[in-house]
Symmetry: C2
Subunit: 349 residues, 2 copies
Amino acid sequence: MSRTKKRTGGVTMDHVAREAGVSLMTVSRVMNNVPGVKASTRDSVMRAVKALGYSPNAAARSLARNGAGRIGLLYSNPSAGYLSQFLVGALDGAQTSGALLVIEKCDPSLESEAAAIGRLIAGGVAGVILPAPHAESERAIAALRDAGVVAIAVGTGHARADAHGVRMDDFAAAAEMTRHLIELGHRRIGFIEGAVNQTASVERLKGFETEIRRADPPADCLVEPGGFNYRSGFEAAERLLSDDNPPTAIFASNDDMAAGALAAAHRRGLDVPGDLSVAGFDDTPLATAVWPELTTVRQPVARMAEAALRLALQESRDQSRRDSRAPIDQLLPHQLVVRASTGPVPHNS
Amino acid sequence: MSRTKKRTGGVTMDHVAREAGVSLMTVSRVMNNVPGVKASTRDSVMRAVKALGYSPNAAARSLARNGAGRIGLLYSNPSAGYLSQFLVGALDGAQTSGALLVIEKCDPSLESEAAAIGRLIAGGVAGVILPAPHAESERAIAALRDAGVVAIAVGTGHARADAHGVRMDDFAAAAEMTRHLIELGHRRIGFIEGAVNQTASVERLKGFETEIRRADPPADCLVEPGGFNYRSGFEAAERLLSDDNPPTAIFASNDDMAAGALAAAHRRGLDVPGDLSVAGFDDTPLATAVWPELTTVRQPVARMAEAALRLALQESRDQSRRDSRAPIDQLLPHQLVVRASTGPVPHNS
DNA sequence: GAAAATGATGTTAGCGCTATTAAAAAGTCC
DNA sequence: GGACTTTTTAATAGCGCTAACATCATTTTC
């Protein structure tokens, strides 16, 4: 093991090419899904790849592509669980598609954001992924466009006109959750809003209200502002539960706030879901870390990040050819996850 | 902006070399801190680097080093906040030291771990970083050693004989926190253990017990098992608080369990810290996401990850030269963070 | 004061992959 | 059926950087 010449993992394209009896370049074409390779040739290459356990060297790829494939990722401080999922997804995507991820942290302040964007641009990225709060920043997107860098907004409430986007259908997901609550018999439902400056919050509220209006027999609702963090959820739930006619269910627009609502309920001696149902949104790790485990909506964060990375890569490559100016809007499927925090409406209410 | 030939960030070593009036190789030497460069030459190179805003291309580096610098990171499912901090730290380190991070996920099961290790080795990594639970896995470390891959254990309770390690002083940190509680007047303190198969848990308990024994006037304690997650913290706190003579303070061996303890306290209508003090460990984002914010110990997770990456890089390079067999044990400083969840012992108890 | 022993820098040859260009094979046409 | 396209494959030249070796100044040594 000590005298091995190259400790790189061994198999290279060359090996694959020899094994498959084709040229190195043909293997490259197959690996990159470039059209113009006979199906039979492609097959034999794929077989060789599998046989040898070949996996492309990201560094070499990035280098050969002349730095294209350097993608930036700006993050500040979304809920902890969100970030880790997002990073994992992006990293995974980077690995499989041979991109080089450059992550850059910033504070929520505008100056800090601008500085981070500047560093990213100076670092020579071809595209930048903007999750959660930054996806709403006109300034950031404008700066990126001015520098000729592709911007991908992730997790906004609706498609942007000035940037490509990857997102989920917040409206439909919130509506589904609301329907779930209504089907359980709840007719007075509290809703905790997310941060108002994020369009996703607005869509979630709209989805909720639309479904409330559609309920039969009719239902009504109480809406409290929140800020996407535990504490604001706790406080909003306190207000909701101290109402003269408190709701029998609370739907928080993210899991952190739902956890806060859970704490508020417990503090009042309420059993969840016996006395009060609580629903969250996002399905972050927190959802299963609390007790009872949260009914929530699974936002495919990791897949969204991966999709964003691919999109950034593809668009940055395309852009250098021609200016295709129609922003792409990629919508990923969500899923209602029913766990232990929601149940039938209590009898005596 | 559209006709730019290379969108790589522009400046390369060649530019720097020309600017400084030296050869490309000299620049490389300066950038890698290789000895044998005259101080004046080094200076002028550094000046050119700054003037041009040069930053080395990680991909090219990794490639030229023949794959050395490919570092794996195995993760399963530590507390969410921990992972994101860890990833960020590792990513950061990778960027600055020009390593290529390959992350690999696995389930807690042993087979899954073995499979992931296998993939990592097949991927040709030169070193693997093993955070939290995997750092204790004899099997994983043995597999890595057999493949001639450097293993770095992160966050174990004490130094390992079979792998390099980066960790904090769990014993001392737990002792400090216990002292903090004792100084606030608490004389009956509950402790919630972490997962028993992790040596860090054991050290934290030892630190706690040592300090309890040292208290003057004497203090006593109640120890409950836990599993490093919210739910186990909640349940352990329930048991602690239903004791005939309940503790006035609870020290949980991580923040997730402390959050659970908080919920249990609230459920019983106890005020924190008025009636009960609660302390956590790790200072994950959860610590400030709950209310009241947790007094905890800051574990420098990001820095540990970064240190682990550097160590992996350095050792994997050294190992190929000679077999230096003394495992390195790097200890990083922690910090007691006093927030709102701990206070003086209540008068009437 | 010439040979050997040290520095300090420059040269050369890739790392593994992708563009680009050239060549060959396979169709197409009149 | 041979000149002319159109596929498909092969060959060549780097991407930016570093290891290993070569080269040129300096010293040092006897």
